[in-house]
Symmetry: C2
Protein backbone atom coordinates (compact mmCIF):
# COMPACT_ATOMS: atom_id res chain seq x y z
CA UNK A 1 0.00 0.00 0.00
CA UNK A 2 1.15 3.50 -0.84
CA UNK A 3 0.35 5.79 2.10
CA UNK A 4 -0.25 9.50 1.64
CA UNK A 5 2.16 10.26 4.43
CA UNK A 6 4.58 8.42 6.68
CA UNK A 7 5.05 10.05 10.07
CA UNK A 8 8.39 9.16 11.62
CA UNK A 9 8.12 9.41 15.42
CA UNK A 10 5.12 9.05 17.71
CA UNK A 11 5.64 11.78 20.30
CA UNK A 12 3.28 14.77 20.62
CA UNK A 13 4.14 16.16 17.17
CA UNK A 14 3.69 12.83 15.40
CA UNK A 15 0.45 11.94 17.23
CA UNK A 16 -0.98 15.38 16.51
CA UNK A 17 -0.09 15.07 12.84
CA UNK A 18 -1.71 11.63 12.65
CA UNK A 19 -4.97 12.95 14.15
CA UNK A 20 -5.01 15.84 11.69
CA UNK A 21 -4.27 13.45 8.79
CA UNK A 22 -7.34 11.43 9.76
CA UNK A 23 -9.46 14.60 9.82
CA UNK A 24 -8.25 15.38 6.30
CA UNK A 25 -8.93 11.82 5.11
CA UNK A 26 -5.27 11.20 4.34
CA UNK A 27 -3.87 7.72 4.87
CA UNK A 28 -1.12 7.95 7.46
CA UNK A 29 1.47 5.47 8.62
CA UNK A 30 3.12 6.28 11.95
CA UNK A 31 6.46 4.62 12.68
CA UNK A 32 7.86 4.62 16.21
CA UNK A 33 10.12 2.31 18.20
CA UNK A 34 7.08 1.53 20.32
CA UNK A 35 8.11 3.77 23.19
CA UNK A 36 6.02 6.74 22.01
CA UNK A 37 7.37 10.00 23.38
CA UNK A 38 10.21 8.64 25.47
CA UNK A 39 11.44 12.11 26.44
CA UNK A 40 8.01 13.23 27.63
CA UNK A 41 7.37 9.95 29.47
CA UNK A 42 10.27 10.80 31.75
CA UNK A 43 8.54 13.95 33.05
CA UNK A 44 7.03 13.37 36.48
CA UNK A 45 4.76 16.41 36.25
CA UNK A 46 3.75 18.60 33.34
CA UNK A 47 1.98 21.78 34.36
CA UNK A 48 1.47 23.55 31.07
CA UNK A 49 -0.18 21.36 28.48
CA UNK A 50 -3.21 23.58 28.06
CA UNK A 51 -6.44 22.06 29.35
CA UNK A 52 -4.81 19.06 31.03
CA UNK A 53 -2.94 20.52 34.01
CA UNK A 54 -0.74 18.58 36.41
CA UNK A 55 -0.44 15.24 34.61
CA UNK A 56 2.62 13.04 34.39
CA UNK A 57 4.35 12.84 31.04
CA UNK A 58 3.29 9.21 30.78
CA UNK A 59 -0.37 10.08 31.39
CA UNK A 60 -0.26 12.73 28.70
CA UNK A 61 1.49 10.45 26.20
CA UNK A 62 -1.05 7.70 26.91
CA UNK A 63 -3.86 10.17 26.14
CA UNK A 64 -2.06 11.29 22.98
CA UNK A 65 -1.43 7.78 21.64
CA UNK A 66 -5.02 6.74 22.48
CA UNK A 67 -6.29 9.74 20.50
CA UNK A 68 -3.93 8.95 17.62
CA UNK A 69 -4.96 5.29 17.52
CA UNK A 70 -8.69 6.10 17.81
CA UNK A 71 -8.27 8.29 14.73
CA UNK A 72 -7.46 5.16 12.75
CA UNK A 73 -3.73 5.65 12.24
CA UNK A 74 -1.75 2.62 11.08
CA UNK A 75 1.08 2.18 13.57
CA UNK A 76 4.35 0.38 12.80
CA UNK A 77 6.21 -0.38 16.05
CA UNK A 78 9.68 -0.27 14.53
CA UNK A 79 12.22 2.39 14.01
CA UNK A 80 13.02 3.61 10.54
CA UNK A 81 16.51 2.67 9.40
CA UNK A 82 16.56 4.68 6.22
CA UNK A 83 14.37 6.71 3.91
CA UNK A 84 14.94 6.49 0.17
CA UNK A 85 13.41 9.14 -2.09
CA UNK A 86 12.27 7.70 -5.42
CA UNK A 87 10.36 9.38 -8.19
CA UNK A 88 6.90 10.31 -6.84
CA UNK A 89 7.32 8.50 -3.53
CA UNK A 90 9.54 7.33 -0.71
CA UNK A 91 10.63 3.94 0.60
CA UNK A 92 11.00 3.58 4.35
CA UNK A 93 13.12 0.66 5.55
CA UNK A 94 12.53 -0.80 9.02
CA UNK A 95 14.27 -3.88 10.45
CA UNK A 96 11.32 -6.00 9.36
CA UNK A 97 9.76 -4.49 6.27
CA UNK A 98 9.79 -1.74 3.68
CA UNK A 99 6.91 0.74 3.50
CA UNK A 100 5.95 3.25 0.83
CA UNK A 101 4.55 6.74 1.22
CA UNK A 102 4.04 9.79 -0.99
CA UNK A 103 5.34 12.24 1.61
CA UNK A 104 7.25 12.17 4.88
CA UNK A 105 6.84 13.98 8.17
CA UNK A 106 9.85 13.76 10.47
CA UNK A 107 9.06 14.07 14.19
CA UNK A 108 12.10 12.40 15.72
CA UNK A 109 12.26 14.54 18.84
CA UNK A 110 15.34 16.12 20.32
CA UNK A 111 17.13 12.89 21.06
CA UNK A 112 18.73 12.47 17.66
CA UNK A 113 21.58 14.51 19.16
CA UNK A 114 25.20 14.08 18.29
CA UNK A 115 26.77 10.68 17.86
CA UNK A 116 29.44 9.29 20.20
CA UNK A 117 32.97 10.23 19.38
CA UNK A 118 34.22 7.69 16.82
CA UNK A 119 30.71 6.39 16.10
CA UNK A 120 30.38 7.74 12.57
CA UNK A 121 33.88 6.58 11.55
CA UNK A 122 33.16 3.03 12.76
CA UNK A 123 29.70 2.74 11.20
CA UNK A 124 29.63 -0.52 9.22
CA UNK A 125 32.94 -1.46 10.83
CA UNK A 126 31.41 -2.95 13.93
CA UNK A 127 29.04 -0.13 14.86
CA UNK A 128 25.45 -0.82 13.86
CA UNK A 129 21.98 0.54 14.58
CA UNK A 130 19.96 -2.62 13.89
CA UNK A 131 19.98 -5.80 15.99
CA UNK A 132 17.89 -7.96 13.69
CA UNK A 133 19.79 -6.80 10.59
CA UNK A 134 23.32 -7.39 11.80
CA UNK A 135 23.05 -9.67 14.85
CA UNK A 136 24.07 -12.81 12.94
CA UNK A 137 27.44 -11.27 12.07
CA UNK A 138 28.43 -11.51 15.73
CA UNK A 139 27.76 -15.18 16.49
CA UNK A 140 29.77 -16.18 19.56
CA UNK A 141 31.46 -12.80 19.79
CA UNK A 142 31.63 -10.18 22.54
CA UNK A 143 29.41 -7.25 21.73
CA UNK A 144 28.24 -4.07 23.41
CA UNK A 145 24.70 -2.71 23.38
CA UNK A 146 23.97 0.92 24.27
CA UNK A 147 20.28 1.77 24.53
CA UNK A 148 17.80 4.07 26.23
CA UNK A 149 14.78 2.28 24.80
CA UNK A 150 12.71 0.02 27.04
CA UNK A 151 11.23 -1.40 23.83
CA UNK A 152 14.71 -2.57 22.77
CA UNK A 153 14.78 -5.26 25.48
CA UNK A 154 13.51 -7.80 22.97
CA UNK A 155 16.43 -6.98 20.70
CA UNK A 156 18.86 -7.37 23.60
CA UNK A 157 17.44 -10.86 24.23
CA UNK A 158 17.75 -11.66 20.53
CA UNK A 159 21.39 -10.54 20.52
CA UNK A 160 22.10 -12.56 23.69
CA UNK A 161 20.87 -15.64 21.85
CA UNK A 162 23.43 -15.07 19.11
CA UNK A 163 26.49 -13.42 20.65
CA UNK A 164 28.91 -14.97 23.09
CA UNK A 165 28.75 -12.15 25.57
CA UNK A 166 26.63 -8.98 25.71
CA UNK A 167 27.84 -5.95 27.64
CA UNK A 168 24.79 -3.75 28.18
CA UNK A 169 24.62 -0.03 28.89
CA UNK A 170 20.92 0.73 29.43
CA UNK A 171 19.40 3.68 31.26
CA UNK A 172 16.07 2.11 32.15
CA UNK A 173 15.06 -0.57 34.71
CA UNK A 174 15.78 -4.06 33.35
CA UNK A 175 13.67 -7.21 33.82
CA UNK A 176 14.76 -9.43 36.73
CA UNK A 177 15.06 -12.45 34.48
CA UNK A 178 17.95 -11.85 32.09
CA UNK A 179 19.97 -14.17 29.84
CA UNK A 180 23.09 -15.37 31.69
CA UNK A 181 25.44 -13.85 29.12
CA UNK A 182 24.09 -10.31 29.50
CA UNK A 183 26.29 -8.24 31.75
CA UNK A 184 24.97 -4.84 32.86
CA UNK A 185 27.66 -2.19 32.76
CA UNK A 186 28.34 1.01 34.70
CA UNK A 187 29.40 4.36 33.29
CA UNK A 188 28.30 6.58 30.47
CA UNK A 189 29.54 5.67 26.97
CA UNK A 190 31.91 8.30 25.59
CA UNK A 191 34.02 7.11 22.67
CA UNK A 192 34.19 4.25 20.19
CA UNK A 193 37.77 2.98 19.90
CA UNK A 194 39.37 1.00 17.03
CA UNK A 195 41.58 1.22 13.97
CA UNK A 196 40.11 -0.88 11.14
CA UNK A 197 37.20 -2.11 13.19
CA UNK A 198 35.60 -1.50 16.59
CA UNK A 199 37.89 -2.68 19.39
CA UNK A 200 36.47 -1.13 22.54
CA UNK A 201 34.06 1.36 24.09
CA UNK A 202 35.44 4.02 26.40
CA UNK A 203 33.03 5.03 29.16
CA UNK A 204 33.15 7.22 32.26
CA UNK A 205 33.70 3.99 34.24
CA UNK A 206 36.53 2.57 32.15
CA UNK A 207 37.15 0.98 28.75
CA UNK A 208 35.52 -2.29 27.67
CA UNK A 209 36.79 -4.53 24.85
CA UNK A 210 34.21 -5.34 22.18
CA UNK A 211 33.99 -6.86 18.71
CA UNK A 212 30.76 -5.13 17.80
CA UNK A 213 28.66 -2.28 19.15
CA UNK A 214 24.88 -1.99 18.77
CA UNK A 215 23.50 1.50 19.34
CA UNK A 216 19.73 1.14 19.80
CA UNK A 217 18.22 4.60 20.12
CA UNK A 218 14.93 6.26 19.21
CA UNK A 219 16.39 7.85 16.12
CA UNK A 220 19.62 7.41 14.26
CA UNK A 221 21.58 10.43 13.05
CA UNK A 222 19.28 12.27 10.68
CA UNK A 223 21.69 12.89 7.86
CA UNK A 224 22.18 9.12 7.71
CA UNK A 225 18.43 8.44 7.86
CA UNK A 226 17.74 10.69 4.90
CA UNK A 227 20.75 11.78 2.84
CA UNK A 228 20.50 15.40 1.69
CA UNK A 229 18.49 16.54 4.69
CA UNK A 230 19.92 19.89 5.72
CA UNK A 231 20.42 20.65 9.37
CA UNK A 232 20.87 23.93 11.26
CA UNK A 233 23.16 22.95 14.08
CA UNK A 234 21.24 20.33 16.06
CA UNK A 235 17.95 21.07 14.28
CA UNK A 236 16.35 20.04 11.01
CA UNK A 237 16.23 23.09 8.75
CA UNK A 238 12.64 24.01 7.86
CA UNK A 239 10.94 26.93 6.16
CA UNK A 240 7.87 28.80 7.43
CA UNK A 241 5.65 25.93 6.28
CA UNK A 242 7.84 23.34 8.05
CA UNK A 243 9.10 21.95 4.74
CA UNK A 244 12.66 20.56 4.89
CA UNK A 245 15.37 20.81 2.24
CA UNK A 246 14.12 17.56 0.67
CA UNK A 247 11.05 17.91 -1.57
CA UNK A 248 8.03 16.18 -0.06
CA UNK A 249 9.62 15.91 3.39
CA UNK A 250 8.34 17.99 6.30
CA UNK A 251 9.39 18.16 9.96
CA UNK A 252 7.89 19.22 13.29
CA UNK A 253 8.44 19.21 17.04
CA UNK A 254 11.57 19.33 19.17
CA UNK A 255 13.71 18.37 16.16
CA UNK A 256 13.05 21.69 14.41
CA UNK A 257 13.78 24.06 17.28
CA UNK A 258 13.09 25.46 20.69
CA UNK A 259 11.10 25.76 22.86
CA UNK A 260 10.73 22.09 23.67
CA UNK A 261 7.10 22.31 24.75
CA UNK A 262 4.22 19.93 24.15
CA UNK A 263 1.71 22.41 22.74
CA UNK A 264 4.37 23.77 20.39
CA UNK A 265 5.24 20.28 19.16
CA UNK A 266 1.57 19.30 18.73
CA UNK A 267 0.81 22.57 16.94
CA UNK A 268 3.70 22.08 14.57
CA UNK A 269 2.55 18.52 13.90
CA UNK A 270 -0.78 19.95 12.71
CA UNK A 271 0.86 22.70 10.69
CA UNK A 272 3.37 20.40 9.00
CA UNK A 273 0.65 17.89 8.18
CA UNK A 274 -1.45 20.59 6.54
CA UNK A 275 1.60 21.76 4.57
CA UNK A 276 2.14 18.18 3.43
CA UNK A 277 -1.55 17.97 2.47
CA UNK A 278 -1.14 21.05 0.25
CA UNK A 279 1.99 19.59 -1.27
CA UNK A 280 0.19 16.30 -1.99
CA UNK A 281 -2.59 18.19 -3.79
CA UNK A 282 -0.04 20.07 -5.89
CA UNK A 283 1.95 16.91 -6.64
CA UNK A 284 -0.57 14.23 -7.57
CA UNK A 285 0.64 10.71 -8.30
CA UNK B 1 1.31 47.43 39.78
CA UNK B 2 3.71 46.97 36.89
CA UNK B 3 3.13 43.51 35.38
CA UNK B 4 5.89 41.65 33.58
CA UNK B 5 3.56 40.98 30.69
CA UNK B 6 0.07 41.91 29.57
CA UNK B 7 -1.63 39.25 27.45
CA UNK B 8 -4.30 40.71 25.19
CA UNK B 9 -6.89 38.04 24.40
CA UNK B 10 -7.92 34.94 26.35
CA UNK B 11 -8.36 32.31 23.66
CA UNK B 12 -6.10 29.22 23.44
CA UNK B 13 -2.95 31.25 22.67
CA UNK B 14 -3.51 33.71 25.51
CA UNK B 15 -4.45 31.05 28.07
CA UNK B 16 -1.42 28.95 27.11
CA UNK B 17 0.86 31.96 27.45
CA UNK B 18 -0.59 32.77 30.88
CA UNK B 19 0.04 29.22 32.12
CA UNK B 20 3.62 29.35 30.87
CA UNK B 21 4.11 32.78 32.46
CA UNK B 22 3.08 31.30 35.81
CA UNK B 23 5.57 28.45 35.36
CA UNK B 24 8.30 31.01 34.73
CA UNK B 25 7.24 33.09 37.76
CA UNK B 26 6.38 36.09 35.61
CA UNK B 27 3.48 38.29 36.67
CA UNK B 28 0.87 38.20 33.92
CA UNK B 29 -2.24 40.23 33.32
CA UNK B 30 -4.72 38.73 30.85
CA UNK B 31 -7.24 41.09 29.27
CA UNK B 32 -10.28 39.71 27.47
CA UNK B 33 -13.82 40.93 26.83
CA UNK B 34 -14.94 38.12 29.11
CA UNK B 35 -16.07 35.86 26.29
CA UNK B 36 -12.78 33.90 26.20
CA UNK B 37 -12.23 32.26 22.84
CA UNK B 38 -15.43 33.32 21.13
CA UNK B 39 -14.43 31.76 17.80
CA UNK B 40 -13.63 28.39 19.37
CA UNK B 41 -16.78 28.43 21.51
CA UNK B 42 -18.82 28.33 18.31
CA UNK B 43 -17.38 24.93 17.32
CA UNK B 44 -19.83 22.13 18.04
CA UNK B 45 -17.16 19.42 17.84
CA UNK B 46 -13.38 19.59 17.85
CA UNK B 47 -11.70 16.34 16.92
CA UNK B 48 -8.04 17.25 16.91
CA UNK B 49 -6.94 18.97 20.09
CA UNK B 50 -4.41 16.32 21.01
CA UNK B 51 -5.32 14.29 24.09
CA UNK B 52 -8.88 15.67 24.40
CA UNK B 53 -10.76 14.20 21.44
CA UNK B 54 -14.36 14.96 20.51
CA UNK B 55 -15.11 17.90 22.79
CA UNK B 56 -17.18 20.95 21.97
CA UNK B 57 -15.32 24.21 21.56
CA UNK B 58 -17.01 25.50 24.71
CA UNK B 59 -15.85 22.47 26.73
CA UNK B 60 -12.29 22.98 25.56
CA UNK B 61 -12.33 26.72 26.26
CA UNK B 62 -13.76 26.06 29.73
CA UNK B 63 -10.87 23.65 30.41
CA UNK B 64 -8.39 26.21 29.08
CA UNK B 65 -9.69 29.13 31.13
CA UNK B 66 -9.89 26.93 34.25
CA UNK B 67 -6.23 25.97 33.73
CA UNK B 68 -5.27 29.59 33.12
CA UNK B 69 -7.08 30.81 36.24
CA UNK B 70 -5.72 27.99 38.41
CA UNK B 71 -2.23 29.11 37.38
CA UNK B 72 -2.87 32.37 39.23
CA UNK B 73 -3.30 34.71 36.27
CA UNK B 74 -4.82 38.12 36.98
CA UNK B 75 -7.79 38.47 34.61
CA UNK B 76 -9.26 41.80 33.51
CA UNK B 77 -12.67 41.24 31.89
CA UNK B 78 -12.50 44.24 29.60
CA UNK B 79 -11.26 44.82 26.15
CA UNK B 80 -8.18 46.90 25.54
CA UNK B 81 -8.92 50.19 23.81
CA UNK B 82 -5.36 51.25 23.20
CA UNK B 83 -1.79 50.41 24.04
CA UNK B 84 0.70 53.22 24.56
CA UNK B 85 4.41 52.43 24.53
CA UNK B 86 6.38 54.54 27.00
CA UNK B 87 9.99 54.32 27.96
CA UNK B 88 10.57 50.92 29.61
CA UNK B 89 6.90 49.97 29.75
CA UNK B 90 3.44 50.10 28.22
CA UNK B 91 0.12 51.60 29.29
CA UNK B 92 -3.01 49.61 28.42
CA UNK B 93 -6.27 51.55 28.44
CA UNK B 94 -9.55 49.72 29.04
CA UNK B 95 -12.98 51.35 29.39
CA UNK B 96 -12.57 51.26 33.17
CA UNK B 97 -8.90 51.54 34.03
CA UNK B 98 -5.34 51.88 32.84
CA UNK B 99 -2.87 49.04 33.44
CA UNK B 100 0.90 48.94 33.14
CA UNK B 101 3.14 46.15 31.86
CA UNK B 102 6.75 45.77 30.79
CA UNK B 103 5.90 43.71 27.71
CA UNK B 104 2.87 42.83 25.63
CA UNK B 105 1.63 39.63 24.05
CA UNK B 106 -1.10 40.10 21.45
CA UNK B 107 -3.44 37.12 21.02
CA UNK B 108 -6.49 38.80 19.49
CA UNK B 109 -7.55 35.87 17.33
CA UNK B 110 -8.59 36.04 13.72
CA UNK B 111 -11.61 38.24 14.28
CA UNK B 112 -9.79 41.55 14.13
CA UNK B 113 -10.53 41.36 10.39
CA UNK B 114 -11.16 44.33 8.20
CA UNK B 115 -13.36 47.21 9.30
CA UNK B 116 -16.71 48.01 7.68
CA UNK B 117 -16.57 50.21 4.64
CA UNK B 118 -16.57 53.82 5.89
CA UNK B 119 -15.78 52.78 9.48
CA UNK B 120 -12.25 54.14 9.64
CA UNK B 121 -13.21 57.45 8.02
CA UNK B 122 -16.04 57.98 10.54
CA UNK B 123 -14.04 57.00 13.62
CA UNK B 124 -14.51 59.77 16.20
CA UNK B 125 -17.22 61.24 13.97
CA UNK B 126 -20.00 59.10 15.35
CA UNK B 127 -18.29 55.70 15.12
CA UNK B 128 -16.93 54.49 18.45
CA UNK B 129 -15.63 51.28 19.99
CA UNK B 130 -16.42 52.02 23.64
CA UNK B 131 -19.89 52.26 25.17
CA UNK B 132 -18.88 53.51 28.60
CA UNK B 133 -16.41 56.03 27.15
CA UNK B 134 -18.73 57.70 24.64
CA UNK B 135 -22.29 56.71 25.60
CA UNK B 136 -23.04 60.06 27.29
CA UNK B 137 -22.45 61.90 24.01
CA UNK B 138 -25.63 60.30 22.63
CA UNK B 139 -28.20 61.21 25.27
CA UNK B 140 -31.67 60.97 23.75
CA UNK B 141 -30.32 60.22 20.31
CA UNK B 142 -30.83 57.31 17.90
CA UNK B 143 -27.81 55.05 17.86
CA UNK B 144 -26.80 51.73 16.34
CA UNK B 145 -24.93 48.95 18.10
CA UNK B 146 -23.19 46.18 16.14
CA UNK B 147 -21.79 43.36 18.27
CA UNK B 148 -20.93 39.68 18.24
CA UNK B 149 -20.06 39.62 21.94
CA UNK B 150 -22.49 38.06 24.42
CA UNK B 151 -20.50 39.88 27.11
CA UNK B 152 -21.45 43.21 25.53
CA UNK B 153 -25.10 42.87 26.58
CA UNK B 154 -24.39 44.92 29.69
CA UNK B 155 -23.08 47.71 27.50
CA UNK B 156 -26.18 47.54 25.32
CA UNK B 157 -28.32 47.99 28.44
CA UNK B 158 -26.14 50.89 29.54
CA UNK B 159 -26.53 52.56 26.14
CA UNK B 160 -30.31 51.97 26.21
CA UNK B 161 -30.44 53.89 29.48
CA UNK B 162 -28.80 56.89 27.83
CA UNK B 163 -29.87 56.96 24.19
CA UNK B 164 -33.34 57.65 22.84
CA UNK B 165 -33.42 54.62 20.60
CA UNK B 166 -31.00 51.70 20.14
CA UNK B 167 -30.95 49.73 16.88
CA UNK B 168 -29.14 46.48 17.62
CA UNK B 169 -27.36 44.12 15.22
CA UNK B 170 -26.25 41.18 17.37
CA UNK B 171 -25.40 37.67 16.20
CA UNK B 172 -26.03 35.85 19.45
CA UNK B 173 -29.23 34.95 21.34
CA UNK B 174 -30.52 37.92 23.35
CA UNK B 175 -32.16 37.89 26.79
CA UNK B 176 -35.99 37.79 26.73
CA UNK B 177 -36.19 40.85 28.93
CA UNK B 178 -34.93 43.81 26.94
CA UNK B 179 -35.23 47.57 27.44
CA UNK B 180 -38.23 48.89 25.50
CA UNK B 181 -36.11 51.21 23.36
CA UNK B 182 -33.87 48.42 22.03
CA UNK B 183 -34.94 47.33 18.57
CA UNK B 184 -33.33 44.18 17.13
CA UNK B 185 -32.47 44.58 13.49
CA UNK B 186 -32.16 42.22 10.53
CA UNK B 187 -29.40 42.11 7.93
CA UNK B 188 -25.64 42.16 7.96
CA UNK B 189 -23.95 45.55 8.40
CA UNK B 190 -22.03 46.58 5.29
CA UNK B 191 -21.19 50.28 5.12
CA UNK B 192 -21.14 53.35 7.35
CA UNK B 193 -22.72 56.32 5.57
CA UNK B 194 -22.23 60.03 6.28
CA UNK B 195 -20.45 63.18 5.21
CA UNK B 196 -19.17 65.11 8.24
CA UNK B 197 -20.63 62.64 10.74
CA UNK B 198 -22.34 59.25 10.76
CA UNK B 199 -25.79 59.46 9.20
CA UNK B 200 -26.78 55.85 8.55
CA UNK B 201 -25.74 52.20 8.42
CA UNK B 202 -26.24 50.30 5.21
CA UNK B 203 -27.00 46.60 5.73
CA UNK B 204 -28.02 43.66 3.57
CA UNK B 205 -31.60 44.31 4.78
CA UNK B 206 -31.73 48.04 4.04
CA UNK B 207 -30.35 51.33 5.35
CA UNK B 208 -31.04 52.61 8.86
CA UNK B 209 -30.63 56.24 9.95
CA UNK B 210 -28.39 56.75 12.99
CA UNK B 211 -26.69 59.54 14.91
CA UNK B 212 -24.01 57.32 16.38
CA UNK B 213 -22.67 53.80 15.82
CA UNK B 214 -21.12 51.61 18.52
CA UNK B 215 -19.03 48.72 17.21
CA UNK B 216 -18.50 46.33 20.13
CA UNK B 217 -16.21 43.54 18.97
CA UNK B 218 -13.57 41.31 20.54
CA UNK B 219 -10.76 43.37 19.14
CA UNK B 220 -10.59 46.71 17.44
CA UNK B 221 -8.47 47.18 14.32
CA UNK B 222 -4.92 46.39 15.38
CA UNK B 223 -3.15 49.34 13.84
CA UNK B 224 -5.44 51.55 15.88
CA UNK B 225 -4.87 49.51 19.05
CA UNK B 226 -1.11 49.89 18.80
CA UNK B 227 0.18 52.47 16.32
CA UNK B 228 3.28 51.28 14.47
CA UNK B 229 2.32 47.61 14.57
CA UNK B 230 3.16 46.19 11.16
CA UNK B 231 0.76 43.82 9.49
CA UNK B 232 1.19 41.30 6.67
CA UNK B 233 -2.17 41.37 4.96
CA UNK B 234 -4.65 40.24 7.63
CA UNK B 235 -1.92 39.02 9.99
CA UNK B 236 0.37 40.62 12.54
CA UNK B 237 3.92 40.50 11.18
CA UNK B 238 6.18 38.44 13.46
CA UNK B 239 9.71 37.08 13.24
CA UNK B 240 10.78 33.51 14.04
CA UNK B 241 10.57 34.30 17.76
CA UNK B 242 7.06 35.76 17.39
CA UNK B 243 8.31 39.28 18.07
CA UNK B 244 6.33 42.02 16.29
CA UNK B 245 7.63 45.20 14.71
CA UNK B 246 7.21 47.03 18.04
CA UNK B 247 10.00 46.42 20.58
CA UNK B 248 8.72 44.46 23.59
CA UNK B 249 5.54 43.38 21.83
CA UNK B 250 4.99 39.76 20.80
CA UNK B 251 2.07 38.00 19.11
CA UNK B 252 0.67 34.47 18.81
CA UNK B 253 -2.27 32.45 17.58
CA UNK B 254 -4.71 32.93 14.72
CA UNK B 255 -3.69 36.58 14.42
CA UNK B 256 -0.19 35.68 13.18
CA UNK B 257 -1.13 33.15 10.50
CA UNK B 258 -2.60 29.89 9.38
CA UNK B 259 -3.44 27.18 10.19
CA UNK B 260 -6.15 28.22 12.60
CA UNK B 261 -5.75 25.26 14.91
CA UNK B 262 -5.89 25.06 18.68
CA UNK B 263 -2.61 23.23 19.28
CA UNK B 264 -0.83 25.65 16.96
CA UNK B 265 -2.27 28.65 18.82
CA UNK B 266 -1.47 27.20 22.24
CA UNK B 267 2.06 26.27 21.13
CA UNK B 268 2.67 29.76 19.83
CA UNK B 269 1.36 31.21 23.08
CA UNK B 270 4.09 29.26 24.90
CA UNK B 271 6.75 30.19 22.39
CA UNK B 272 5.90 33.90 22.35
CA UNK B 273 5.79 33.99 26.15
CA UNK B 274 9.26 32.45 26.35
CA UNK B 275 10.52 34.95 23.77
CA UNK B 276 9.06 37.74 25.89
CA UNK B 277 10.73 36.22 28.97
CA UNK B 278 14.12 36.38 27.21
CA UNK B 279 13.44 39.95 26.14
CA UNK B 280 12.52 40.91 29.73
CA UNK B 281 15.81 39.46 30.99
CA UNK B 282 17.77 41.41 28.38
CA UNK B 283 15.85 44.63 29.07
CA UNK B 284 15.67 44.99 32.84
CA UNK B 285 13.74 47.87 34.38
Amino acid sequence: MLYDIAIVGGGPAGCSAAVTAANRSLSALLLDTGDFGLALRKSALVKNYLGMPDRSGAELMDAFTAHMKAAGTTVVPHKVLSILPREKHFYLATPGEVYEARSILLCPGASHGKPLEGETAMLGKGVTYCATCDGYLYRGKTIGVVTNLPSAWEEVEFLAGVAGEVKLWADFPLPEKRPANVQTMEGKPRKVLGEERVEALETTAGTEKLEGLFLLRETDPLDRLLPGLRLDGPFIRVDDNLATSVEGVFAAGDAVGYPWQINKAAGEGQKALLSAASWLRENPV
